[in-house]
Symmetry: C2
Subunit: 365 residues, 2 copies
Amino acid sequence: MHKAAHELTVQLGDRSYPIFISEGSLGHQDLSAYCAGDRVLIVTNETVAPLYLETAKGHFPGKRVDTAVLPDGERYKNWEVLNRIFDALLEHQHSRRTTLVALGGGVIGDMTGFAAAAYQRGVAFIQIPTSLLAQVDSSVGGKTGINHPLGKNMIGAFHQPEAVLIDPASLGTLPPNQFSAGMAEVIKYGLIRDEPFLAWLEEHVDELMALQADVLAEAIRRSCECKAAVVAADERESGVRATLNLGHTFGHAIETHTGYSEWLHGEAVAVGMLMAADLSERLGWLNYNDSVRLRQLLLRVRLPVTPPEGMTPVHFKALMAVDKKNVTGKLRLVLLRSIGEAVVTEDFDPALLDATLDHFCYPLD
Amino acid sequence: MHKAAHELTVQLGDRSYPIFISEGSLGHQDLSAYCAGDRVLIVTNETVAPLYLETAKGHFPGKRVDTAVLPDGERYKNWEVLNRIFDALLEHQHSRRTTLVALGGGVIGDMTGFAAAAYQRGVAFIQIPTSLLAQVDSSVGGKTGINHPLGKNMIGAFHQPEAVLIDPASLGTLPPNQFSAGMAEVIKYGLIRDEPFLAWLEEHVDELMALQADVLAEAIRRSCECKAAVVAADERESGVRATLNLGHTFGHAIETHTGYSEWLHGEAVAVGMLMAADLSERLGWLNYNDSVRLRQLLLRVRLPVTPPEGMTPVHFKALMAVDKKNVTGKLRLVLLRSIGEAVVTEDFDPALLDATLDHFCYPLD
């Protein structure tokens, strides 16, 4: 087995931080230098704890390590469960010089990051993502937060970690549907800014699905490079960072329609990206072969390519209208000028969006 | 009656903002230029709403203004009540380009500021403080937050407002004990960095207590100048900003001991400042006349000068040990090198602190 080790830097001035990507590194790399003081609180969930919690303590030799184990699932990404992190910090009398460690997927990362942003008005935190989605997307860039009953990720903060440690070997314990969902975000980077990466993914898709270590590490590295470059250019999402939302407005509509229980985020994004490609094709920006190419790649990584049965254009339009990316009243979408070049635009003929929705909701074949 | 209008700037680079201090300005100054978009949510409480809510809408001509009225009191500075602000924002579909307005005292300012920091990862907010404490202290500097059952202000953010509008006339409706409590913070500025201001306060204390408009505006201006200078030098409290906590470690012990119900924050700080002065005297930094001078000024603004009956040195020491300003295990206090010069130090003989505690808890006279 190849051992592949990569180190990247997210360039954010005095808030710059490293991303370490290395097979077998979980528990075996000293992260003390990224801690603010001599105390650490590792936050994880009931699924990840039995697999990696004891191992993860190995990152903090000489520190006093406390732990908080939360229930697993997006439905627990709320204030009540977040508060358990604050309870643990206060019960164990952690000061401002503590360091929080997020060990788990996107939900754990988002909640731990927000707890770190808000505890005593901001303490240090480290990301140790164990899902593919978290490794290639949510652990990098400092977006943190929780859900509100009236909206996803509506309460949060921009708070950058001190370091991100990624061990691709942890994907060996990830359920296959979650691996596929993470691949949706990997493919997204190729679509929005790196056509050669998309071609590389097409070439190596079988090795990726077989979790071949060096290929996996390379896919994660290139994804993190893309994410880091976009975040460095636009930390607070006033411009180019919005292109990372390719497929997300369609995808959020699917997630909301299905009550955030049946569809994984990445699955909804996969369909959403295909819908965005279809609309881009109708605008004359992509050609038919581009859409076919994307559809085939999504199918090869076992992602859905059609919206949930029974979901109509009326559902889509109602749910897309309240998406938070729509700030002026006009619907704003991320579309593709070409494979590898995304644009954020409100300037499209609504009749073409209708045609895309009809095409996906009422397939002729 | 004199009309006194002042404008200061809190210098924080691209987050700099103005403080307007002007008698009769509440409701009469167009603040549209400080709004991010065309929607505003004014947050206030049940006490302030009947007095100033309708008036305050006058600041936002042409904007669509929603309101949220919270219960009044420190005991409501918690997540459940904070969440009512998020409920209002989401029910009325406010986007990231909304502006929150805090109309009230320190609790409303802290909660509204934190809601603005966290809603969709950060939106704009404006402070319209109506209590003396909020006008001279909490509305300036960007400290926001809520309490946790295990600690005050334990959850929050640094989030600077777009503007602060202070109308000293609003103090006419403030209960006298709250006015006095605010005066504790005014006096604090003289003690920590501005001896001439302390002398000016001694000279004008009767006019201040009579709420004479121009004198009041001047006291607020000089207080805000002090606060703004300290915040500009040390936004995140890594150094000099900690001097603003003069009297607060003793004061928090009093507030905690009395369950945050009998003593106002400023009342506890008044006694705390006198205790800090006493300890500074024992260290040979102040002389006896300095302590007497401070004691007399506190009495003239009707603030307490002795801790609650029955509170012992043991109580003080137990409660001061958990104060969050103590980050290394050693007790760190703000003390006075001289009147007008504060220092943050851990370097004092504990026997002298014992003597101060004995002196205040077991008065001989």
